[in-house]
């Protein structure tokens, strides 16, 4: 009976530590690059990809205008927000009316795809770091949100949570209203500074604003949590907490 060769436990421990440290650095670096403006972000991402192998420019790049990697979008009316969450049960899209908190609906989406991380770990950092991607959300208009799941299925919901359409394939996004890009005249730097003062010790990412530029959607993350979504009402000087961000974790954990 041949004995199975064993790897010294000290070596395994060192490897695990190295992997863990590398992931920490990468996660911090990614968070940092997402805080800077678009042109700088591209450069920062390129540098990051060189310095920390395993990070590519696409990951650090800002999402295309109509796609929201953070899984939350503010409608053009400034009242409705859709965000995804999957902390318990099947993945959901929550549709919130900030002005009428009683009109707050959660709709179920098809179960998410799972990954066999254990099989790849630790040979492939990319696989280990593979994150569950929340569905992409786009407000078609202020009454209808389009949901595109990771598998490519699409469906539309009205603000009462009723499913308006279910079909495969991604529609022609160029026909839709561009996403909630923060207008330059909002004063993004001032807004960022203001929100960081209001949410100290949190990493604040502005996700968009409404057409009237009255409200701003943002994500505030702590050092250890996935973050919470907020809408900042500029005229009332009030922050409305919407809910927790979908917990982003490596699949299979």
């Amino acid at each position: 009976m041949s004995s199975i060769p064993t790897v010294p436990s000290a070596a395994l421990s060192s490897l695990a530590t190295a992997v863990s440290e590398r992931r920490k650095i990468r996660s911090l670096a990614l968070a940092a690059t997402n805080q800077v403006l678009f042109p700088c972000r591209v450069i920062a991402a390129a540098v990051l990809a060189l310095v920390v192998p395993g990070t590519d420019a696409m990951e650090a790049n800002p999402p295309p205008p109509t796609w929201h990697r953070d899984g939350a979008v503010l409608a053009s009316d400034g009242a409705h927000v859709a965000y995804s969450r999957s902390d318990a049960g099947p993945p959901k899209v929550v549709i919130v009316d900030v002005d009428h908190p009683d009109r707050n609906v959660a709709v179920d989406l098809p179960p998410r795809k799972s990954y066999n991380v254990a099989a790849d770990f630790p040979l492939s950092m990319r696989a280990a770091d593979q994150e569950y991607k929340p569905p992409r959300l786009i407000w078609v208009d202020s009454r209808c949100v389009l949901v595109i799941t990771q598998s490519g299925d699409t469906c539309r919901f009205d603000t009462d949570g009723r499913c308006l359409m279910a079909a495969s394939g991604i529609p022609n996004l160029s026909a839709l209203r561009p996403g909630e890009i923060l207008p330059a005249d909002l004063g993004i730097l001032e807004m960022q500074a203001l929100l960081e003062r209001k949410l100290p010790r949190r990493s604040v990412a502005i996700l968009g604003c409404d057409e009237a530029r009255r409200r701003v959607l943002l994500l505030a993350r702590g050092a250890t949590d996935a973050g919470r979504y907020f809408v900042f009402d500029r005229s009332r000087d009030l922050l409305y907490e919407l809910g927790p961000r979908q917990r982003v974790e490596p699949a299979g954990r």
Partner: protein, 595 residues
């Protein structure tokens, strides 16, 4: 409202507008319907009532209600104060050496007095209302006028089913709690006073039902018990608690109770602790600030926070004397502002469902000893009430002021002319004369009262002020400076006043004026007195600045620096701030403290 246990709030302030119409002849009402004014009740001298007098710890009572009703009311108000002290440490509540004056009147007598008052004022073309219950505060004491229905003792044993909707009983209203907290010096932070008062006010009809679905009603304001268990009084009292948080509105509370993930507005902690929102903030912001103040108090007292309620009181205590910073907060609760905000947000749905436990009921104290009131007592208390109501009458309906002045004078001057020399009565007469602009007469009466042993802080301070004014006109030292004998005459009054509770701001102001006209620097004891005043009344930045200057001149850099920091924290006035900064720079210079 129809519940037999329903109690009506006794405490009503005129400004709140809760008033009841005087019974006026129909013709008169029609004639004067154009304008309606709210008036404080007048204890008409001509009314012949059988007054009884009594004393209980912290209270002096003049009542024309039945003996039972009077005893029960005084017992209940004493019990309420003890209950309040079981939740709020005494250092956060106003403590006054002067007893609170209680004037208790039954409804029938009140109507008779009101009719007499209306008859007296027929020449004035106004429609009148009087407040059935009124609390008037001076800087050193409180007086309350309460219309008390007969109060059956059965209520206390739980059998209250026979009580009518007009049943009236003493309660701890949010307004009363807030005034007791806010009148305490040094000033308790706004969020603390508003949050605690909100806790006591969470029992109105707008409060949402708790999660267990049991219908609760107000037994004692802020305390709730199940309505449908009339025979389970003992159990009910043992399980009393504050009702669930009413939050910003009934709708918002309902939504969040049903769905803990519903959106909710919350202020950053630094904005909550920055004090009442500025006038320019939106009404929504103001509402959120008030609701979050109460939420924070509930969270801190819920027993689920790091450090528990002790941490909360420690934080509140420190916040009375220094600027609230994240470090200060963290040193008390072990959380930074961001985590505390998140914790509050997470606690909110729970606060909307669950009640906050109360430390426990306090047993009913012994009834007060009652006896027939002497004419001197009746005149003194009527006169004191008559003097206090002048302020609201002057501001609300100055046309009627002379009626009230006449009534107060009749009571006090009449007794004085009959030979009554109770120092409290003479002191009140002096204060009345001062209020009506008779300064010479006021000085005479106040001097006589103090010579006869009056210890009321307001009497002492006002006499000190009058003495200072006269001495400055006729100084015994160099022009503009007081002689040592003159200063001693004033300072003896001030010291006596400051030995009482509460230490009055006016006493420190007069002392500071005396110090600035002495022609010498104050000695260490005098400086210590001013420093104490500046720390208590840090909002009086002129006092803080002056005390800091004296400390600097005496070379006491530490005291001066502490006061400068206090003044800079309190003052938004650029002139005062500039002076404080200049003084601070002077202190930092090598020759600081010497001129």
């Amino acid at each position: 409202m129809n519940s037999p246990w329903r109690l009506l709030v006794v405490w009503t302030v005129m400004a709140a507008g809760a008033v009841r119409a005087i019974v006026l002849p129909a013709t008169e009402t029609a004639r004067t319907a154009e304008k309606e004014v709210a008036l404080p009740p007048m204890l008409v001298v001509a009314s012949r009532l059988d007054w009884v007098h009594g004393e209980a710890p912290g209270f002096e009572v003049l009542s024309c209600c039945s003996k039972d009703a009077t005893e029960l009311f005084v017992q209940r108000i004493s019990q309420c104060m003890a209950e309040l002290a079981s939740l709020v440490p005494e250092e956060f509540l106003l403590h006054a050496s002067e007893p609170t004056l209680l004037i208790l009147v039954p409804p029938a007598r009140e109507q008779a007095m009101a009719a007499e008052m209306a008859k007296m004022m027929t020449s004035v073309a106004v429609s009148m209302n009087t407040a059935p219950h009124l609390r008037l505060t001076d800087v050193d004491s409180t007086a309350m006028y309460v219309v008390v229905d007969s109060a059956p003792r059965e209520w206390l044993t739980g059998d209250s089913r026979g009580l009518g909707p007009r049943y009236l009983y003493f309660t701890l209203s949010p307004d009363f709690v807030r005034s007791l907290i806010q009148m305490r010096q040094p000033t308790v932070p706004d969020w603390c006073a508003v949050g605690l008062a909100g806790l006591f006010g969470s029992g109105d009809d707008q409060a949402p039902p708790p999660a267990d679905g049991a219908r609760l009603t107000r037994v004692i304001p802020g305390w709730y018990g199940p309505t449908n268990v009339p025979d389970a009084d003992a159990d009910r009292i043992a399980s009393l608690a504050f009702n669930p948080d009413p939050w910003i509105s009934r709708l918002d509370a309902d939504v969040l109770r049903d769905n803990g993930d519903a959106p909710r507005p919350l202020l950053p902690m630094q904005e909550l602790f920055a004090g009442r929102p500025a006038a320019g903030k939106s009404p929504d912001y103001q509402k959120v600030w008030e609701a979050q103040s109460e939420l924070f108090v509930r969270w801190a007292l819920s027993g689920k926070t790091p450090g528990g309620s002790a941490a909360f009181w420690r934080f509140a205590r420190l916040a009375t004397r220094q600027a609230v910073t994240e470090e200060l907060f963290q040193s008390c609760f072990g959380l930074d502002y961001a985590d505390a905000r998140d914790a509050l947000s997470d606690y909110l749905p729970e606060a909307l469902r669950n009640r906050v436990p109360w430390p426990g009921p306090v047993s009913l104290p012994e009834p007060p000893e009652l006896r027939a009131a002497t004419q001197s007592e009746i005149d003194r208390i009527k006169g004191e009430w008559g003097r206090r109501v002048l302020r609201p009458v002057r501001s609300n309906c100055p046309d009627l002021l002379h009626f009230y002045v006449d009534q107060a004078k009749k009571a006090l001057q009449g007794a004085f002319e009959r030979g009554e020399r109770d120092p409290r009565l003479v002191g009140t007469l002096g204060l009345l004369r001062l209020d009506t602009g008779e300064e010479a007469g006021a000085r005479q009466a106040l001097e006589e009262a103090v010579a006869a042993g009056a210890t009321r802080p307001l009497v002492l301070v006002e006499l000190a002020r009058l003495r200072l004014k006269e001495y400055l006109q006729h100084p015994t030292a160099a022009p503009g400076n007081l002689g040592e004998d003159q200063a001693a005459n004033i300072m003896s009054l001030i010291r006596k006043a400051l030995a009482q509770q509460p230490p009055l701001r006016g006493a420190y102001s007069v002392a500071a004026d005396v110090m600035s006209h002495l022609g010498r620097d104050p000695n260490p004891a005098e400086r210590a007195m001013l420093d104490g005043g500046a720390q208590l009344y840090a909002a009086d930045t002129a006092l803080v600045l002056q005390a800091a200057k004296w400390d600097a001149r005496a070379g006491d850099r530490d005291s001066a620096h502490r006061l400068i920091e206090l003044g800079l924290w309190q003052s938004a006035d650029p002139v005062i701030r500039g002076k404080l900064v200049a003084l601070d720079q002077l202190l930092s210079a090598p020759a600081a403290g010497r001129r």
